[in-house]
Symmetry: C2
Subunit: 298 residues, 2 copies
């Protein structure tokens, strides 16, 4: 079924009548298509549903194009990023083209769906900006962090599930919570993996988030536990390239206070709620997706 989504996206791209754009699109790594998968599992595979899934994936692709420019990333899903091949100008404009084509096509789907998805893009862009601002200081405010990852990561997954439930005529509330929890947990687990997985497996330097100024949940929790001297030591390392000794110290302290387990359990609680909501609704394909997510490699 995901193949119909790929075909529909190509169809939308060809509509633009610019061979250059099709060429750019073919250079994009496709990813897991999580959002499309959720939409199809919730709402079936009518043309309207396939179109919605395609639009959401185009919008998600646009956000990643801008994200890579903002983070100066050379790679995306083990492929060179568009900004690294064609430069920032092309990546920004190609993102704008995918966004606007997506919004244009939403007009022919359903007004409620169009509002849910365009509101998620507002949240997503606010979240990207908050991510940049939060990285400028040593943030220890859990609520600000959770709001940011809700906006940046969870909002479009939540909107995908909600939109699909609207198209399917199902009660939106459990699907919306499912999507939000899935998105939050996904980001929390990603943040944990940045600490626990070695750089070779990760394909990027380990503990890169902290170097980039991002105090993800484990750092926020660790900071809370430390005594004043250690608090100051952690703070002094923020945004710096860590040496082996400092890296080991942080990991040791996290072990001492069981920070990873604690953070992992927080993600797991969200996933458990998502699973039970979907099992109650008889949506076993959706609860299986949630289970898979929490079983990612630690």
């Amino acid at each position: 079924m995901l193949n119909s989504v790929e075909r529909q996206i190509i169809h939308y791209i060809k509509d633009l009548n610019e061979p250059e754009i099709l060429n750019l699109y073919n250079k994009l790594a496709k990813g897991k298509r999580l959002r499309a998968k959720l939409i199809l599992k919730i709402a079936g595979n009518s043309l309207r549903v396939i179109k919605t899934a395609s639009i959401v994936e185009m919008i998600h692709g646009a956000s990643l194009l801008h994200d890579d420019v903002i983070d100066d990333s050379d790679m995306r899903r083990n492929r060179p990023s568009i900004n690294s091949i064609y430069g920032n100008k092309t990546a920004i404009m190609f993102g704008d083209i995918l966004y606007s084509k997506g919004f244009y096509e939403l007009n022919d789907i359903d007004k409620r769906v169009s509002k849910v998805i365009s509101n998620a893009v507002v949240q997503l862009s606010l979240g990207e900006l908050a991510d940049v601002s939060l990285s400028e200081e040593f943030n220890t405010d859990r609520d600000r962090y959770l709001k940011m990852i809700y906006q940046k990561t969870a909002s479009l997954i939540e909107a995908s599930a909600e939109s699909a439930s609207i198209l399917a005529g199902k009660d939106s509330i459990p699907y919306k919570i499912y999507g939000r929890n899935l998105g939050l947990a996904f980001q929390m687990i990603d943040d944990i993996l940045d600490i626990t997985v070695d750089s070779q497996t990760l394909g990027k330097p380990a503990m890169h988030d902290f170097f980039e100024g991002k105090t993800t949940l484990p750092y926020i929790y660790l900071y809370k536990e430390l005594d004043t001297d250690d608090k100051n030591r952690l703070k002094s390392l923020h945004s710096k390239r860590l040496n082996t000794k400092d890296e080991a110290w942080i990991k040791l302290k996290m072990k001492e206070y069981k920070i990873i387990e604690y953070s992992y359990n927080e993600a797991k609680k969200l996933i458990d709620e998502a699973i039970s909501l979907m099992e109650n609704a008889g949506e076993f394909a959706l609860s299986a997706i949630a289970k898979e997510m929490i079983e990612r490699d630690f």
Copy 2:
């Protein structure tokens, strides 16, 4: 009436509930609000019309934010650009926020209007990309150039006039042509001013377009007239910092072949058509706007 548009934009920005965004918005130079002005002159000042004008100006602002990142511009309307104050990351994301908030609010206006405007944003983004591609070579193809300026500059002005005519229940065709011609002529005149006006008046180096690789209409026309040797000389100067001698030579050749008059007349023909369409429709405020445009300083 433009004040109601300013107030409505502030209202939309405050909706976002992020003081940082309001602060960024206040740093933006407001510009002439040409698109809002056209919309109000065509469709009056009901709340729906004011909202549409505000959305179009937010979208136009978003496109300028991205444009300044792409062109590495430090100034916009005699003020420091957002990218020069806060960096590219913030400018890209703030642009995405204005775009998506605009698209979100369009859902509550009218489906036809929403399609017209979102289609214009697709064109606008394609035009920005074409502008970059065309600058990479010495383009002598007039049609490709006209298509690019239609997409980049005229499409959103055309869409503004068309949207307003839809909201006002007027026949769209003359307004659409009016908007398109106004947009094309505006860009053509801007291209001429880059050649004829000295750098001090312009606030940027004169003949900057050619240095940036942009062969605007006067260069395309001049190239056509020159003999083979001179064609090669002009081509050899493309994308280079011009010395006084080369600059004078280009201006002399343009004088010899009456290139500026010829280019100006092409813009004037478009404006004349726009004026006569509006006078036939009894829209004298709109024909006056077109007249003003062609009377800009040469």
